[in-house]
Structure formats: structure tokens, C-alpha cells
């Protein structure tokens, strides 16, 4: 819609958030029974399902990738045909999906303690049910939770958040409308407790002087996200523990 103001003069965005506020985040672990680990996350209207299979013996066709001292990761990112406003018929293996898959794989290679699982394979599958901006970040968060559910050893949680710059102010957790406007978009994944950035990607133009502010804002966003994810994991753990002790 032409003429939408991304940030009003009173400091509110199109959906009523302030620039430093995340969308409503709801997540759940263990939604599937067959996969080794699974999680579902909703960041506003972006809904992602993650499933983990592994660590397990390498597939026939992946035999050539086996390493003797660590496991290798296999990642696939798919978007459902009904996930965007305009229905897009996606054949598997399209450029964008492959791109995303590679990035997510890189992110987790830096986080999972792969040396604990030599000669095996861990599969990470991400299915986007509804896409409304910050797809990559939601996928990372979902995969992170799913890995925890699967019990795979990681250095830390991985929290990802996106940010953009409007009218000189950094806004975090951008949705689809803000993404499709002309502004630069920065996605960052961090290890919250260690305070390290494992992945970052910038689309668009940003002046060098403005970069530090945007990075600060996005790191703060990730830390807020971490709080939500941590709480979910602990609640899930309590629930599972009670079922075990009571049954």
C-alpha cells in the first residue's frame, strides 16, 4: 500500500510497536513425535516449524561427506506455497531456499559441538508455514529450540533478530511491510551468554556512522528474545519432568 509511514512522528510503527519492541513471540517444544527434536515458533505472523533428525548414521547419498572427527550438518529450508500473500509455486531446490539453508547450516556449525558426534549426521529441517518478515531469524530460533529438544550438545542458545533503520532510528524485528520498503536490513544471530555474533547479514545501504547503533539495537533484541526462549525451555522441562515423575 503506497504511502504507509513506517515510523510515525509519535514514535509508533505501522503495527503500533515502538522501535525497540519485539513482536509477540510464542513457542513450543516437542510438537512432533517422530522426529528426534522439534519446535514451533511464532514471531508475530511468521510461523516456523523445525524438526531435527539425528545424530544418526549417515545416509547413502551423503556418504562422501562423513568426517572422522565430527558430525556433519544437513539443513533444508522450505516455505509452504501458502506462506506468502501471493501463492508461489515452489519447486524444491530454488535459489533462495538453498541460500537460506546454507546460511542456517553455517550458523549451527559454529554452535553445535560437532566433535562429540564423529561420523554421524544431524539433519535440520525448517518449514515456514506463514512468512511475515524476519524468516531467517525465526528459523534460527526454531532450530535452536528444536536442537535443545533433541538433546544435542550446543555451546549456547542461538538467538537471531533483524533490524532496520527508519528516519534515523533503528527498528528491530521487522515485519514484511518494513522489509519490502527501501530500508537496509540487518540480520544477526548471537550466542547470548557468550556475547558472540555467529552470523550477520546486511541487505541494502547503510552509512558507516549508523552501523554501530543498529548493531547495538539488534543485539539487545536478541538478548530479549533469549529471555523468552529460555523461559519456554524451562517450562517445557518442568512439564516433562512432572509427567515422568507422576506416571
Amino acid at each position: 500500500m503506497a504511502g504507509l509511514e513506517l515510523l510515525s512522528d509519535q514514535g509508533y510503527r505501522i503495527d503500533g510497536r515502538k522501535p525497540d519492541e519485539l513482536r509477540r513471540i510464542r513457542c513450543k517444544l516437542g510438537v512432533f513425535t517422530q522426529a528426534d527434536g522439534s519446535a514451533y515458533i511464532e514471531q508475530g505472523n511468521t510461523k516456523v516449524l523445525a524438526a531435527i533428525y539425528g545424530p544418526r548414521e549417515a545416509d547413502q547419498n551423503m556418504r562422501n561427506q562423513i568426517c572422522h572427527d565430527k558430525c556433519f550438518l544437513n539443513c533444508e529450508y522450505t516455505q509452504a506455497t501458502f506462506s506468502t500473500a501471493e501463492r508461489k509455486h515452489r519447486s524444491r531446490g530454488d535459489r533462495k531456499g538453498q541460500d537460506m539453508s546454507t546460511h542456517i547450516k553455517q550458523t549451527f556449525e559454529a554452535t553445535i559441538q560437532t566433535s562429540l558426534y564423529p561420523r554421524s549426521q544431524i539433519d535440520i529441517y525448517l518449514q515456514v508455514l506463514q512468512a511475515d518478515g524476519s524468516n531467517y531469524c525465526a528459523c534460527i530460533n526454531a532450530a535452536s529450540l528444536a536442537l535443545i529438544d533433541a538433546g544435542i550438545a550446543m555451546k549456547d542458545y542461538v538467538c537471531a533478530c533483524s533490524a532496520s533503520l527508519t528516519k534515523g532510528k533503528p527498528v528491530i524485528d521487522i515485519n514484511h511491510v518494513e522489509e519490502s520498503s527501501d530500508c537496509a536490513e540487518l540480520s544477526v544471530a548471537i550466542l547470548p551468554k557468550l556475547g558472540q555474533i555467529v552470523y550477520s547479514e546486511l541487505n541494502g545501504r547503510l552509512h558507516a556512522n549508523e552501523l554501530p547503533d543498529v548493531i547495538d539495537a539488534v543485539v539487545r533484541g536478541c538478548k530479549d528474545l533469549f529471555v523468552v526462549m529460555d523461559r519456554t525451555v524451562r517450562e517445557h522441562l518442568e512439564e516433562t519432568a512432572t509427567t515422568f515423575t507422576h506416571s
Binding site: G3, V177, N209
Partner: protein, 926 residues
């Protein structure tokens, strides 16, 4: 809390999409009552509302009653987010005005984000239209405010022009009135009533005229898509206000002509309209007749366009306007007509701009307003009304009073002339600012150089200084430097002073006043390179050979001390006086020699030297009234300074283009299309002169050849040809190098050019200074500096301001000419430069005055039926009986100032020689 907003959108390719967006509701939205954004006790009193109250405005009130809202007594108003969004969507000029009110803290307008506040949000009901939903949101927000204010014993009043909304509101227990009812009962401000716009009622119903209905916007859009209608901006002809045209690239000739009141169908100059092309048999030709309301008040009553037989060769595509896509109405300056009885409230207003039709307004202040210049805004133009309807905005002062007339011309040309705001003044350094130590260290110290400046007499804003040193290193090289005031050091980006300068774009020079782009402290004092001390400068220094070839160029920020601030006359005297041998004079002589070489080289390349009849008024220092006229003289020294300024601009242009190929600010002058020269070539042919207009060099050569004495050719003809050639040129414009590929400057015959040498009076130069400083490492870049789209937007504004400044300057000269001729009657020699079917246009070189002599009126100005007028177009000749008047003929005209009609004071030109019976007037006593 999260709710969801769903919309159905139809994309351009015909797909229908369902778009879902989040909508968060908050409980921490400020309603303005507890902060100081709104007054604790609103002062405005109204008979209809017993308590103190705050106003909540509906969209239609804002769209139509802006002038009432801008009145200083209307304060403490709550603007809802819903309303703001609708206004923005429906009308961007009104939105701009509203935004500027919102920025003004004294008006106490508060924007309440009602759609995200949990207490004022509501979901759409089944089958509710968006308009109804918006109305309901407004009512709920008003109720919310009423509840909040009830314990303070104050109320919230809803103002809406929608009767249904008003009724619903009253039912729900709210206080609601239409804007008209409210304004009528305001206590203490009767002038508000005049400002009310009457949108619904027709002030006048004139059965004699009924315009065709305008088509709906959706029909227009679909018609444009299929190609049945053409869209364009209406351009009313200066000579004939009942004729206009729109540019349309896909018809023959590129333009569609629209003639006559009914075909114009209530469109106003500069509206964006949809035109339906007529069939070829109905095509017509532009009228040769000149129609001017002020001279021919009777002419507009009989507005039938005479359907003369027009030869097919002359027919151009014509059409009629079927609908208006976007109105471009703005407040217009002008006067009230003295028709009708004083008791009437309905009057006719004549705008100063001839191309705008008269406007009917209703006012009770007729007695005070007659004889004053006033500002009026158009509200609507109903089908049955001959004229558009409007309302009075404000009064400017008495007609003919110099201050008022100056005000009118500044307003009509959109020249911002209000005093600088406090925010801007806060950005200035203190008046006794001195160059800080660290600046001295950062810059090159050129204080020992023989620097001087050469400017017109009385100039206080000195932009530039020059110096010349013989390097004496055996190679014959010399060093020449141009030093420009370092304005960008004082005006930092994104400060209020920068925004104000960006908006003004240029300093406007009127005959008696100067409207500064930057405050005087900077322009005349701190930045100005006066000879009374050290100044900061931006220097461009060349190492040149003695035959003016550039060997090396370098730029640096420097500190200089000008040795002398000379006038052109003084500098010329110094150069000519052999006794003077100080290094400044030696420098001047050197510069002079080099300048001559540079000039001849430029002319060889095709630079044009065109003439315009420039006059300068001698202004009485007491009354500021013009005493006498003086034409500008061109001395050697004028040319010298000009050459080096051009050279500096060229060098800087090359440099910034290299360093910033995507975002350099440059200036280009596109060559005129060959058709522009048609009139000129025709006119020259009548005197057997051939002009070659293929390149600028050919044109320059042809114009020079025309100066050679020839039998039967008046000596002044060559100058006249130059003046006419100036009018064929296109405008030079600023642009961003990343968005265009053609950089040439036709008039200067330069491959690349920019403006660098006058940052005190032009904003483009400040932008170039910033780029240059960044390239030499003397300053940092920032994101707007490098953003192509941003730069192009600023360039577009600068081009607009530059054009408006030129028009304003010309209007100021015209105004002063009028004032000068008050009470005088002068006979003077003139030349015919244009021949039309019923008039000739005469140029009087001594006064630089141009005017029309009508051949179908007698010497008293009354219309006559002329049956012995014979117009021969291709010879540019008109026969009155047996006497012929041709282009370039020398005539004598009588110039007088006609103040007989107080509304239309103007300069009258009457033909004295050749003596046409019935038309010409008696020569005045010498």
C-alpha cells in the same frame, strides 16, 4: 494485546491478495492531557459550549476549513491518528499544512494514536464500510476524551461536517457541531466567519452557463489506461487566458490544445487533468488574439472563440477536458473588483496571476478590503457557477504601496521571506566569533598572499577573492588562486539553519531588497571575505602557463586576509594607472591578461554571449523610491572575475565527478530543440539575415556576422537578435550525476559544469563544497550526501526556487518601473520584436521595458472595429490600412502610468510614430 488487520488488495496485474497485518494495542499511549502539549485551561470560548473545551476534528473539517484552523485563536485541538491518516491519503498539500501546524508548539495541537490505544480501539462490525468504521473510531475517541476530562469539568467537542456523523454523536451523548455552527458562535473573533469555506452551497447560480459534468476518478483512470483519455498538467497561455494546452508525447506536435470556457471545463492553471482528443475535423489552431482581463474587461463577457477557417497546415490536435485528476489550488494574491453595490456580500476577486480565473467570495468586510491587496483561496467550482468559489484568507496592505506590492510578488512566487526562526538563529555562532586555534592549524595559511576581491558597489556579501603570483621559476608558470567563503564550515548538515537554506535554495535580489538565504550575521559578516581581517576560505589554486593552460590544480581549506575589497570601477582604474606597481595591482593586471585569453578560447569553443536589457534602478536612499534608471555597463574587470569563476566551477566539477561519480551535484544546460529557433530565424529572414543554429558556435558566429553594417539594417538589430535568441534557450538545471548521462552546458560550451563560487547565496554551492571537502579529506561524509535520490530531490527544489527567484526579480523590476513612471509622461524610441494579429510587442531599450500596443483600440483604450487590419504571418508584418509595421521596425511610443483605475495600475504604451489615424496619440511636449 495483539489483534489482526485484514485487507483485500487488488494488485496491478489483476491478482487479488489477502493481506494480514498485526495490530498491537497498547495501554501506555499518551493522551496529552497530563503533559504540557495541551493547555490546562483552553481559552477559546464559544456560545454553544458552556465549559472549557478541547476540539476533536473530523477529516472533512481539516480538508476544507484549513484557513479557519490556521487562525491563531484555534488552539488545544486533538488530532486523531485515524484522521491524520485519512488527510494524508486524500490531500498532500493539506497534510503539509497540518504538519507545519503540528510542529508549532504554540498552537497546542496534539496527535493521539487512537488506533493503538486499547481503550479507543474497536473491531470492524459485519458489513461495516471503512468510512463508517473511521467515523465510529472518531466518536469512540471523543467519548474517551470526554470521560477523561469530566473530572476536570471540561469537555471534548467533536467538529464534523458530516451530518450523519454529527447525529450519531449527539445520540451517543457527545457534544458535536458542524464547523459552520461552531465558528458562528465563537466569542471574540468575528473574522473567523469570513475564513469559512463554503463547500456545499453554491454562492451563485448562473443559468447562462452550465459546464459538462466531470467524470469520476475511476472512469478517468480506466480511460487513461485504455488510451481514450490523455493525462497532463494544464498550462494556460500567457496571452490568452481562455486557452491552454497539455503536453502529450503521443500526439503530433507533442501538445493538445484546449480552447474556450466549455472545453476548459473548470480546470485551473497547473491542475492535472484528463483530456479527450477531438476528432480531426474539429481540430483548431492557437489563437493569434491576445486576451488580457485587466486591459479588456469587456472581453471576457463575449467569449465565443471565432470559428475562423483555419488552414489544415495550422491545425494542431485539440481536445476537451473531461475530468480533473488533481487540483493544484493554492492561496492567490489579488484585489476585489469594484462591481456591485456596497451592501452586497458577494464579490468578485481578480488574482494577480493572469492565468487564474476570477473567484467569487463572500465577505462582510468589503469596505475595508476594497483598495487592498488580499489573499483568497478557492474552495470549489460548481457546475452552474461561471467562476470558482472561494474564501478570504488575509489582507496584505494597500494597493500600490511598495511594501504591499513587494509582499504580493514574493507570495506569488513562493519566496520564503519570513524572518529566520529562533531555531535557525540558535545555530549561529556569537557575533564576536574569531577563528579558533585548531582551525588555523588545520588549514593552509595564505594570509601573506596578495588577495583581493572585486564586486559591485555596495556589495556586503563577498563570496570570492582572487590572487595572482608570478612563480618566477623560469618556466613562465604563474599561480592563480580563487578563494571562496567557507560557508559549509558554519552551516553543518541537518541543522535548522541548513534545512532553512535548503528550502530557500537561493538569495533573491529584488530591486530594493534582498531576501537572504542565510542570516545576515553569516552572509555579510562572518563568511563574507571582507578586507578587515582573517577569514576562512575554500581555495582552488592553479599552476598555469602564461597562455592560460592549466598545469596543475589543487584544492584546500585555507585562512586568508584580503588586502582590498574593490569595486569593478576601482579595479579598472588600478589596472589602467601605470603608476601603481603594488603586488595587488600587478596581480590584477596578470589576471586581466589571462582572463582575456580564457575568454577568447571559450568563444572559439562556442560559448554564447547573449544580451538582455538589464537596467538598474538608482534608489533614493531615504524613501527607497526609484530615481533614475541605469543600464549595466560591462567593463574589463567584470569579465575578468567572471572568467575565473567559470574556470573554478569547471575545475571543481571535474574533480567531484571523478571522486563521486554517483552523487556529484552538477549543472547542465541542454541545447534547445531546433523548433525553438523558428521564430528567431523567421524574424532574421525578414531582414535578409541568415542565422545558423546548428551548434552554439554557429549561432555565435551568425550573431556576430549580423553586427556587420548592412544596407537597410538598423545597427540595433544585432542586439535585438541576441535578445530574441536568449528567449529561445532552455533553462539550465542542477542534477545528480548518478541519474543522468548528459552533462553538457550549451551556453558555456563546457563539457561539465557546476556551481561552486557563491555558497553565500546559493545552496547548490554549499552541497558542492561538502562533496569537495569530503574528497580532500577535510570533512566527513554523511548518508544524505551520498544518496542519489535525496540529491535529485534537492536539485529539483533548487531548480524550482531558482526559476521562481528569476520571475520574482523580473516582477520587482516591473513594479519599480511602474513606480518610476508615476506622474511622468515620456516619449521614447522602441523596436517591434513581435507581431500578432491584433497587436505588436515593443521593446524600449533605454528602460528595458517591454509592452503591448493594441492595434484594435483607439488611443483612449476603447475597442474599435478594425476592418483595415491585414496580418501577414510569414513576413512578421501587419498592415493598418496602408501603413506597415514589421518586426525590428523602429517606433516611438509614449510611456505613461495609468492610475485612473485604482485596481489596475499599469504602464500604458501608446504609439506616436508611425502615426496611425485613430490609434496613435499626440506626441507629448518635449
Amino acid at each position: 494485546m495483539l489483534k489482526s488487520k485484514t485487507l483485500m488488495v487488488k494488485t496491478r496485474s489483476g491478482k487479488i491478495l489477502k493481506i494480514v497485518r498485526e495490530h498491537y494495542l497498547r495501554d501506555d499511549i499518551d493522551n496529552g492531557l497530563l503533559t504540557d502539549k495541551l493547555d490546562l485551561h483552553p481559552l477559546l470560548q464559544n456560545d454553544l459550549v458552556p465549559h472549557e473545551h478541547f476540539l476533536v476534528l473530523d477529516t472533512n473539517v481539516i480538508l476544507h476549513q484549513m484557513d479557519v484552523i490556521e487562525h491563531p485563536c484555534i488552539k488545544n485541538v486533538i488530532i486523531l491518528q485515524t484522521v491524520l491518516r485519512e488527510v494524508r491519503h486524500r490531500s498532500s498539500p493539506v497534510y503539509k499544512r497540518l504538519s507545519s501546524i503540528l510542529e508549532n508548539p504554540d498552537k497546542k495541537f496534539f496527535v493521539f494514536t487512537n488506533e493503538h490505544c486499547i481503550e479507543t480501539w474497536t473491531a470492524r462490525k459485519r458489513k461495516e464500510s471503512s468510512n463508517d468504521l473511521n467515523d465510529r473510531l472518531i466518536r469512540i475517541a471523543t467519548k474517551y476524551y470526554s470521560d477523561c476530562l469530566s473530572d476536570r469539568n471540561q469537555q471534548a467537542v467533536l467538529l464534523t461536517n458530516d451530518e450523519a456523523n454529527c447525529a450519531f454523536a449527539v445520540e451517543e451523548g457527545l457534544i458535536a457541531y458542524t464547523a459552520e455552527k461552531y465558528v458562528k458562535s465563537v466569542v471574540g473573533h468575528p473574522e473567523l466567519l469570513d475564513k469559512l469555506a463554503k463547500v456545499n452551497e453554491a454562492i451563485e447560480v448562473d443559468r447562462s452557463i452550465s459546464y459538462p459534468e466531470h467524470l469520476k476518478l475511476s472512469q478517468l483512470n480506466s480511460g487513461i489506461k485504455t488510451g481514450r483519455f490523455k493525462q497532463g498538467k494544464l498550462n494556460i497561455s500567457r496571452e490568452n487566458y481562455l486557452e491552454g494546452k497539455i503536453l502529450c508525447p503521443d500526439v503530433k506536435g507533442g501538445e493538445i490544445l484546449i480552447q474556450g470556457r466549455l472545453n476548459l471545463n473548470r480546470a485551473v492553471h497547473e491542475d492535472i487533468v484528463a483530456v479527450e482528443l477531438a476528432s480531426e475535423e474539429e481540430w483548431s489552431a492557437p489563437s493569434d488574439v491576445m486576451l488580457d482581463v485587466s486591459i479588456q474587461p469587456g472581453a471576457e463577457i463575449s467569449d465565443s472563440v471565432d470559428k475562423k477557417v483555419v488552414s489544415n497546415a495550422h491545425r494542431v490536435p485539440s481536445g476537451k477536458i473531461v475530468g480533473i485528476i488533481k487540483r493544484s489550488w493554492r492561496p492567490y494574491c489579488g484585489i476585489l473588483e469594484n462591481y456591485g453595490t456596497p451592501g452586497m456580500t458577494r464579490h468578485l476577486f481578480t488574482p494577480a496571476e493572469r492565468r487564474i480565473p476570477r473567484i467569487r467570495i463572500e465577505t462582510r468586510q468589503f469596505k475595508t478590503l476594497i483598495g487592498q491587496r488580499i489573499v483568497v483561496a478557492i474552495d470549489c467550482w460548481p457546475k452552474h457557477s461561471k467562476y470558482p468559489q472561494g474564501h478570504f484568507v488575509r489582507s496584505l496592505g494597500e494597493i500600490g504601496d511598495k511594501e504591499t506590492e513587494n509582499e504580493v510578488l514574493l507570495l506569488e512566487h513562493d519566496v520564503s521571506h519570513a524572518p529566520f526562526s529562533q531555531a535557525v538563529l540558535n545555530c549561529l555562532p556569537s557575533p564576536n566569533w574569531a577563528i579558533p586555534e585548531e582551525e588555523l592549524r588545520k588549514r593552509e595559511d595564505l594570509r601573506g598572499f596578495p588577495i583581493c576581491s572585486v564586486d559591485p558597489p555596495g556589495c556586503t556579501d563577498i563570496d570570492d577573492c582572487l590572487h595572482f603570483i608570478d612563480l618566477n621559476d623560469g618556466s613562465g608558470a604563474v599561480e592563480v588562486g580563487v578563494h571562496i567563503a567557507d560557508v559549509s564550515h558554519f552551516i553543518r548538515p541537518s541543522t535548522p539553519i541548513d534545512e532553512e537554506a535548503k528550502c530557500r535554495g537561493t538569495t533573491v535580489y529584488l530591486c530594493d531588497k534582498r531576501i537572504d538565504m542565510v542570516p545576515a550575521l553569516l552572509s555579510s559578516n562572518l563568511c563574507s571575505l571582507r578586507d578587515d581581517g582573517d577569514r576562512l576560505a575554500f581555495s582552488c589554486i592553479w599552476k598555469m602557463s602564461l597562455d592560460a593552460k592549466i598545469l596543475q590544480t589543487r584544492f584546500c581549506k585555507s585562512v586568508i586576509r584580503s588586502k582590498a575589497s574593490l569595486t569593478y570601477a576601482q579595479a579598472q582604474m588600478m589596472i589602467d594607472d601605470p603608476a601603481k606597481t603594488d603586488n595587488v595591482t600587478v596581480g590584477l593586471r596578470g589576471l586581466n591578461k589571462l582572463a582575456k585569453i580564457l575568454k577568447s578560447r571559450r568563444i572559439l569553443n562556442g560559448a554564447l554571449s547573449l544580451a538582455s536589457p538589464e537596467v538598474r534602478f538608482h534608489v533614493d536612499s531615504e524613501t527607497h523610491d526609484p530615481i533614475d534608471l541605469q543600464t549595466k555597463e560591462l567593463r574589463d574587470t567584470n569579465s575578468m572575475v567572471e572568467e575565473f569563476m567559470l574556470l573554478a566551477n569547471c575545475s571543481v566539477a571535474e574533480h567531484i565527478q571523478q571522486e563521486f561519480p554517483e552523487c556529484a551535484v552538477l549543472r547542465k544546460h541542454p541545447g534547445p530543440p531546433p523548433s525553438n529557433f523558428d521564430v528567431l530565424i523567421n524574424a532574421a529572414k525578414t531582414k535578409q539575415l541568415d542565422l545558423n543554429t546548428s551548434t552554439s558556435r554557429e549561432l555565435a558566429v551568425s550573431l556576430d556576422n549580423a553586427e556587420k553594417p548592412q544596407p537597410g539594417v538598423n545597427l540595433y538589430i544585432s542586439t535585438l537578435l541576441r535578445i530574441l535568441a536568449t528567449r529561445c534557450m532552455l533553462q539550465a538545471v542542477y542534477f545528480c550525476s548518478g541519474l543522468e548521462s548528459d552533462f553538457k552546458h550549451y551556453g558555456l560550451a563546457a563539457p561539465i559544469y557546476t556551481h561552486f563560487t557563491s555558497p553565500i547565496r546559493r545552496y547548490s554551492d554549499i552541497m558542492v563544497h561538502r562533496l569537495l571537502a569530503a574528497s580532500i579529506g577535510a570533512d566527513v561524509t554523511f548518508s544524505e550526501l551520498l544518496d542519489k535520490q535525496e540529491i535529485q530531490k534537492i536539485c529539483n527544489n533548487l531548480n524550482f526556487r531558482h526559476r521562481m527567484a528569476q520571475y520574482a526579480q523580473r516582477a520587482s523590476v516591473a513594479l519599480h518601473t511602474q513606480l518610476f513612471f508615476r506622474g511622468k509622461l515620456v516619449d521614447e524610441k522602441g523596436y517591434i520584436i513581435f507581431v500578432r494579429k491584433n497587436a505588436v510587442q515593443v521593446l524600449i531599450p533605454k528602460y528595458g521595458l517591454e509592452g503591448t500596443v493594441f492595434l484594435d483600440r483607439d488611443c483612449e483604450g476603447n475597442a474599435m472595429t478594425m476592418n483595415n487590419l491585414n496580418y501577414v504571418e510569414q513576413d512578421c508584418k501587419i498592415f493598418v490600412g496602408s501603413i506597415a509595421l514589421q518586426v525590428f521596425d523602429e517606433v516611438v511610443v509614449q510611456i505613461s502610468h495609468d492610475a485612473s483605475n485604482i485596481q489596475h495600475q499599469r504602464i500604458n504604451l501608446k504609439l506616436v510614430k508611425p502615426n496611425l489615424p485613430g490609434i496613435s496619440s499626440v506626441p507629448s511636449e518635449s
